[in-house]
Symmetry: C2
Subunit: 333 residues, 2 copies
Amino acid sequence: MKKIINDPAAVVAEALRGMAAAHQDLLTVRTDPALVTRADAPVAGRVALVSGGGSGHEPLHGGFVGPGMLHAACPGPVFTSPTPDQVQAAIEAVHGGAGVLLVVKNYTGDVLNFETAAELAAAEGIEVRTVLVDDDVAVKDSLYTAGRRGVGGTLLVEKIAGAAAERGADLDTCEELARRVVANTRSLGMALTACTVPHVGEPSFTLAEDEMEIGIGIHGEPGRQRLPLEPADGIVRRLVDAVTEDLPFAEGDRVLLLTNSMGGTPLLELYLAHGVAEGLLAERGVTVERRLVGPYVTSLEMQGMSLTLLRLDDELIDLWDAPVRTAALRWGC
Amino acid sequence: MKKIINDPAAVVAEALRGMAAAHQDLLTVRTDPALVTRADAPVAGRVALVSGGGSGHEPLHGGFVGPGMLHAACPGPVFTSPTPDQVQAAIEAVHGGAGVLLVVKNYTGDVLNFETAAELAAAEGIEVRTVLVDDDVAVKDSLYTAGRRGVGGTLLVEKIAGAAAERGADLDTCEELARRVVANTRSLGMALTACTVPHVGEPSFTLAEDEMEIGIGIHGEPGRQRLPLEPADGIVRRLVDAVTEDLPFAEGDRVLLLTNSMGGTPLLELYLAHGVAEGLLAERGVTVERRLVGPYVTSLEMQGMSLTLLRLDDELIDLWDAPVRTAALRWGC
């Protein structure tokens, strides 16, 4: 295992220490329990957005904490859910009196632990709502999931509901917006290589030198198909076809396209893939109105990519464009 | 070779097409010759900053084109200098009547080709100055260099001189600032794995599963030492020691610390390394006033990292903090 780490058991805590140093103007980081919050939290009178999940998907979620997006993130151990206590501590740290919206990727452990935390917080009189993100069209049920998995679409939910909360929208409105984004978002990923969880020490699966996996999960869960490696045109066509046919995205739809690296794929390849995706969507008469290209929802050093499409309306565009100031997404301020 | 590409000879052109689509509000991209310019170039009455070099180091340089940073970037083939004609075309496309500053990483091919372009532009009456960046303390001469190589410090030169140009500083001032940044910047990188140039098709070198290379170049050039893999604390200490002892950075110095991924290293590891570096600098009495953590000057999918230190003064801090709007660096607007 080749990694820049010390004790595999201390990776997340040590990374949080570095994150705290790197973004001390923006974030407050606690390690017991692990918690990343806005430096100015709680924000009185505003709905607070809380998310989290296993570490190893950086910048998700801590990199999306800040004005206009999340109020808190709970980083679990690598690829492992945060505990209910941890989520409860996050809720308590950031609730500003207008309720809390939990954005939860649909994995069994996350769903259970966020649910327990929501009950604990409700018992303290904090109004909590939960929105599950399940945008991955790859598989119905999987290793860690009942139903579809939550992947790249998560950041779109966090950005758009976060922008509404920042503007003072109430809990009902933030929840409705988050559900609207989930309902209109679909993703699919693929991998060229596996990744290695530090405390495991060996790759979570193996792909031969001439193989790729379509529909891979962000924890290396099995996908739809293991296939011979193809040129970028073929890979991207498989992703665009599956994603557009699922919703379906139809001629005349306006979309946001997220071309996401799984971590180890260079930006040069990612831009290339993005160009192919834009061309294929244009052929289908789908108009790309907004785009984001980069490593945003990753799987450690895995080489591969995912495509996420969100069907837009004017309100979603306006909220996407609203100012955001986080470690990983920043514009307008 | 596992990559998301089509024809290895067309990678850069196809990636530029995707980049153009991804950032159409910000950039104008031409492919013959390959050129990335600000959408609003030329900016009349402002010094224009032009850089470039081999592709494969993204987001350097095209990701740093935009208000407050570069006016144009010339992307060569992967790890190969842009041609004099290409650089000349960039100069002509963006000069706004107040002179052009070329920011050139110190590699033999780049130096020659930018120099030729500068002469061609001067013959047309455009005033051109050149600043060489040679911040890598690893080796004196190397495979592609007479003198030290230009690495992570390049983006600091581009940001700070670019901010001055944006504010209307004249060519003398922009050149002086760029030289001041170069004079006060030192870097060192290390690699856990090699990378593969698409048109070569195999890794540029090999490292055993228990080996690392200290002082690696961003094209995979040999470094100072091939050593047994160490924990992060040891790796980062080697980088901090070599960088601080070179200038030297002394107790009481205020610095900007760039903790840079070579591309394939996950953000989780990079934050961990950043935290270690901040701790070691604090021990030395060096004050980290500004920091940047991420994949900024990369080497395709290479796993590894580099540290760059810039000794700051109030003027450099002010220019670093100035608004910037590019694909890869954005704040204040």
